[in-house]
Symmetry: C2
């Protein structure tokens, strides 16, 4: 029995796009990819993406699925689609999945990584690829703040308005902050992210690193559910979707490979 | 006695520019930087750059000097200039030099590094930052070819036409090829480079890696002085100027620091 669901593993630089989600009159990753898939398969194809990434946000890995027959063998699909895609979007792999697979609802965990270029002078090599932040940041304070933003809790204080969700409770499995040279890397793994949540959590850790929010205050900020008490939403260019976890094979293996 | 020569250490992503050298009606790094320096110092400033980089070529480090008084303290000059420069060009450091310093003629050695993204599928993260080359390359053959392109020899076979030079003999101190994951890095250090020489030498090593030019043929290609016998000029997006060596202090220390 042939599956009627095909899953694509993508990578893209989001600088030129208004995010994943199709919108009128602006270029989006979804529309660009849907055009390529539709042209390659010779039929109109709609894609389901694993999440809304915002304008300027990148994806090291991203999952999207479509339904219906796929007339191109899966092992040739990446090359066939890449030939029709601009240089800043690539299909890395493809597999078939059970017909009830859904890139959003089947997703168990997602990971975002935020890059801060923390140096007195900006570096052209990181333009559009990291957030330039010249002020001194205390990594110990950032880590203490991050530790208090893990666990299962109401993330409303880290949510930008504009989306309707049933619950604002999420489980943050890991919020790790490391430094290598001038690059600070903040990696957040959760079962889901509210709108702008990753960038607001990084902004809160950055405010801790500046001494503007004490790590001890994070608990009460979370309890308040008040977005104004948490740190700022960091700019999009530093944000990368870096992992998407599914339990069902072969999607799990493909996305982690 | 105040020096009347100021040396700038630069970094830039060359994608948006038609190379270093000022030309009519197209954006160049030289013109962009001269405008910023002139505006900051309040007088017209002409820059001497350490080399012509081509359109699309990048510089991890690049040296340029100007003459005349500098009304801004050297330690504040990078920030003052960066405030007037686009994001893809940055001044990393500045120092004063003897009045006979000249970014080209005082230069002892230069190093270029060429990045090849050698994988079956292109990677959006390397667009404009490396040359995508999907064919299999034999690294041992590339290294054997590179070894035969070192020493002091007539480099005419690796020169594109279009420049007048007194001699086409250059000393190539080092031509090293390494691989890390899907990235092949070719690093060439020489006392000088003819027009397109670095890209033609890498193209020749690539042809060896493909089995199209045997390393044993390199000697006769050099002796022939015939550009048509060597490998192709690789595209510019993979090329970086990575080191510029001067003997005079404090320029030497600044460029290596």
């Amino acid at each position: 029995m042939a599956s009627d669901c095909t899953v694509l593993k993508l990578r893209y630089i989001g600088t030129a796009y208004h995010g994943w989600q199709r919108q009128k009159n602006v270029p989006t990753v979804q529309e660009t990819l849907e055009k390529a898939v539709s042209a390659a398969l010779g039929r109109p194809v709609s894609l389901v993406g694993c999440g809304r990434t915002d304008a300027g946000v990148h994806a090291e890995v991203y999952a999207a699925n479509f339904r219906g027959s796929c007339s191109i063998p899966l092992d040739r699909l990446p090359l066939a689609l890449n030939a029709r895609l601009p240089d800043d979007i690539a299909v890395l792999d493809a597999c078939s999945a059970d017909s009830d697979f859904h890139a959003v609802f089947s997703c168990k965990r997602k990971e975002y990584t935020y890059l801060i270029y923390n140096s007195g002078l900006r570096d052209p090599f990181y333009v559009h690829r990291a957030c330039f932040f010249p002020e001194r940041l205390d990594l110990d304070l950032m880590r203490a703040a991050a530790a208090r933003m893990t666990g299962t809790f109401d993330c409303a204080a880290f949510r930008s308005v504009g989306t309707n969700v049933k619950t604002t409770v999420r489980t943050v499995y890991d919020f790790e902050i490391t430094r290598s040279g001038d690059i600070i890397r903040a990696r957040i793994c959760a079962d889901g992210f509210l709108y702008n949540m990753a960038r607001a959590m990084v902004g809160t850790a950055v405010y801790s690193g500046l001494g503007k929010i004490s790590p001890e205050e994070i608990g009460s900020i979370i309890l308040s559910g008040n977005r104004c008490l948490a740190g700022p939403t960091m700019p999009p260019e530093g944000l990368y979707m870096t992992r998407v976890v599914y339990s069902a094979e072969p999607v799990r293996s493909m996305m982690d490979g």
